[in-house]
Symmetry: D2
Subunit: 251 residues, 4 copies
Amino acid sequence: MTPLTHPSLTTLDIDSLEAELRHQSPQKILERAFSLVDSIAISFSGAEDVVLIDMAHRINPEVKVFSLDTGRLHAETYRFIERVRKHYNLSIEMMYPDAAAVEALVKEKGLFSFFEDGHNECCGIRKVAPLRRKLATLDGWITGQRKDQNPSTRAGIPVIQIDHAFSTEDRPLLKFNPLANWSSADVWMYIRTYAVPYNLLHEQGFISIGCEPCTRPVLPNQHEREGRWWWEDAGKKECGLHAVNDAAASA
Amino acid sequence: MTPLTHPSLTTLDIDSLEAELRHQSPQKILERAFSLVDSIAISFSGAEDVVLIDMAHRINPEVKVFSLDTGRLHAETYRFIERVRKHYNLSIEMMYPDAAAVEALVKEKGLFSFFEDGHNECCGIRKVAPLRRKLATLDGWITGQRKDQNPSTRAGIPVIQIDHAFSTEDRPLLKFNPLANWSSADVWMYIRTYAVPYNLLHEQGFISIGCEPCTRPVLPNQHEREGRWWWEDAGKKECGLHAVNDAAASA
Amino acid sequence: MTPLTHPSLTTLDIDSLEAELRHQSPQKILERAFSLVDSIAISFSGAEDVVLIDMAHRINPEVKVFSLDTGRLHAETYRFIERVRKHYNLSIEMMYPDAAAVEALVKEKGLFSFFEDGHNECCGIRKVAPLRRKLATLDGWITGQRKDQNPSTRAGIPVIQIDHAFSTEDRPLLKFNPLANWSSADVWMYIRTYAVPYNLLHEQGFISIGCEPCTRPVLPNQHEREGRWWWEDAGKKECGLHAVNDAAASA
Amino acid sequence: MTPLTHPSLTTLDIDSLEAELRHQSPQKILERAFSLVDSIAISFSGAEDVVLIDMAHRINPEVKVFSLDTGRLHAETYRFIERVRKHYNLSIEMMYPDAAAVEALVKEKGLFSFFEDGHNECCGIRKVAPLRRKLATLDGWITGQRKDQNPSTRAGIPVIQIDHAFSTEDRPLLKFNPLANWSSADVWMYIRTYAVPYNLLHEQGFISIGCEPCTRPVLPNQHEREGRWWWEDAGKKECGLHAVNDAAASA
């Protein structure tokens, strides 16, 4: 198949790409992503998606990485992101929320409004808006989403898709999910085999890691998603980064 | 089958009991244990084997429970054992090591000799000897051992057996392992369904829990046994409570 | 003495005010501050300066409070600020740093640049600029500074002063330090006597509390300031909020 | 003054020794203690009395040290005692409580009886009896008691005394308190100046350190003794090691 320059990609191309890549390894998917799209970056959450950085760095030491600094991450997560930056000699771009938006929310509702009226407003300001600002500069992004992370919302995620949530009229955005078909066990086997640095919260019972007030450790054999926004319904446990596409995928 | 009084049990009887109980629920096995043996008690480790206490207490509120207080348990474990005692209104007998034996070991080798020459000497003094003293007063004991806890040493444990390690010449000792065929997931489903109290260390990444210096949290998807005596070979990770029988079972 | 409207205050007035208030209680100083200046607010650090809020709230339940959310505070501090907000039924304004400034610093130097080239650049972006933005809307501010906090830099702070660091050409800014002459022991006696809510970090060995990466607990009898920016000289341990005035005061 | 061999010491001699040593440094008192009594040892609590070990070790590298392992110390304290043992190349004798006594108390009252009927019964079994057993082998012991630790009970402790609580008919026991006149600040100045190893709990807000369930961190400027047996009256806060003598001293 001839490499395509991204702006000319059509839905048909995506379908054939998805068919081509569906059963490939994450590394092959990453390679294809880098060959298809120049302006592309990994979205790093500060958790076990560090495997994407490890894989990508072996393929492309100049890989671009960004992360969403909501201003409420765990101290351990800030330390981990710094450790990753130094370990791979990367520049990790930290996207920061808009001061006026944060100030207005907090002035009206305090610092923990999400416990009272849901996490969407806070995630919208601290995660989605900064992400949108970053994605507007890219033609493709790479995420650590996996089907096994959330049976309600992520069961149908493809390895490649057009990102209908963040594409603009004149700029379609490609989204790659190289780990879609990996299990949590696969990810951790990789981390341990290749001695990939990991967030020390993983040594304290945390599996999925997001903002500090909205993340907690899980019990043995408890599904990792129960450690996130635990006061809300399982079906709503998405912060908005992936929601629109996931809804389409699991429709 | 006619109930047997324990002292007359023969190996043949054990085999047929094992055949009878092999596919029964833990609760059925507990019922049978209580009907077979009068002088019987649950050995409680302070971890997720609390499910045995919950099950047994529903069958027999007078169930006897003992635990081995090595003098080096986690503060959280002491608090948990006390919570269980009050929750079920039980008398939990804490077996304590012999002062002279502990003093001699510590004087010669310090408080962390196990990191240097293995855990057997310390376990022998702090766990096995007090257990032996307790078992000498019983005709049967009930443990929380499960096959899935250690593929190297516990794969073959039966639900009932003669305890060749702790029986004496004139006093055969029956050992029941009602959870032998349950998985960790089964145990935790039970704990959460019945709101059984649990050790708070389980909220900090601990799965298997023993003495404080010899237990650590595991990473996501790491086998629970890797949190115990991690500086030794997997095949040796038994404290001596179950070693002789396990060796026989997996032979 | 006739109450003065603030814009007409002269240095002479300040001197006589200082003479008047120097030996007064913090409560008297707060009362005077509220009577002198309409547009005035307490700057709350999330530490033991909560006593100022408690005192001020008894005098004026509508007291305005702001705090600098650097995006790197301890999780405990965010929880404490929320607790104070609810306890006193206050609106606490959280000033947030400018996204572009934070992003540029972090992109160039990572998340912990202060350990390498000093805390001034980071404090400048995360604390001083948001403070300046807030102070531009006020005629006076009230701080929890005390002489005993830092013998090198705070020994000479007055209870009232013109804030030469943040006044503008056409808008002199008054700064009140009602706790200037209180010791740490006085503050904690007040907190315990009046059951004032306090930051739970104070139960973990923390005395002075700032940003998470730049604060640490101190040992028994260690000066509280040794828990802040401990990799720098004692004489430099100011974040810029008070530096210019302090320099003048101790000159 | 002629050195005395211990068994011949009279009350009069003690008075003149006290007069001689009252204003001496802890080191001088230690030297005198070693010259006066052959069979003497330091009682080490695992807290800041480590300064005694440091001082004594410089005078006499063969100094004998014992500690009371109640079976309920903090994990950090066990690690600290081991660190001290290795740092000074000492043999630290850990005195352990009698198994039958602990088992009987716990069977009857559970693991936290002290919260309900006071700490004396538990301290009696876990601390005082093992101490008595140890002291019966000595002619003198050295403690880290200081007057400033407890204004109610320790204000009058001398630097040397006949231990009326633990002497036997035919064997008077000398007790030395070389730090009696040192303040907490003096002790910590010594620790920091000489880089003496210290219990890491001191970095978490703990000042006085005893058993884990009966010790807690204190707030800034809170008296250290408020971190011990906080549910009891200040005047009773002695574990029985020093009670009889203190009562005499402050009478």
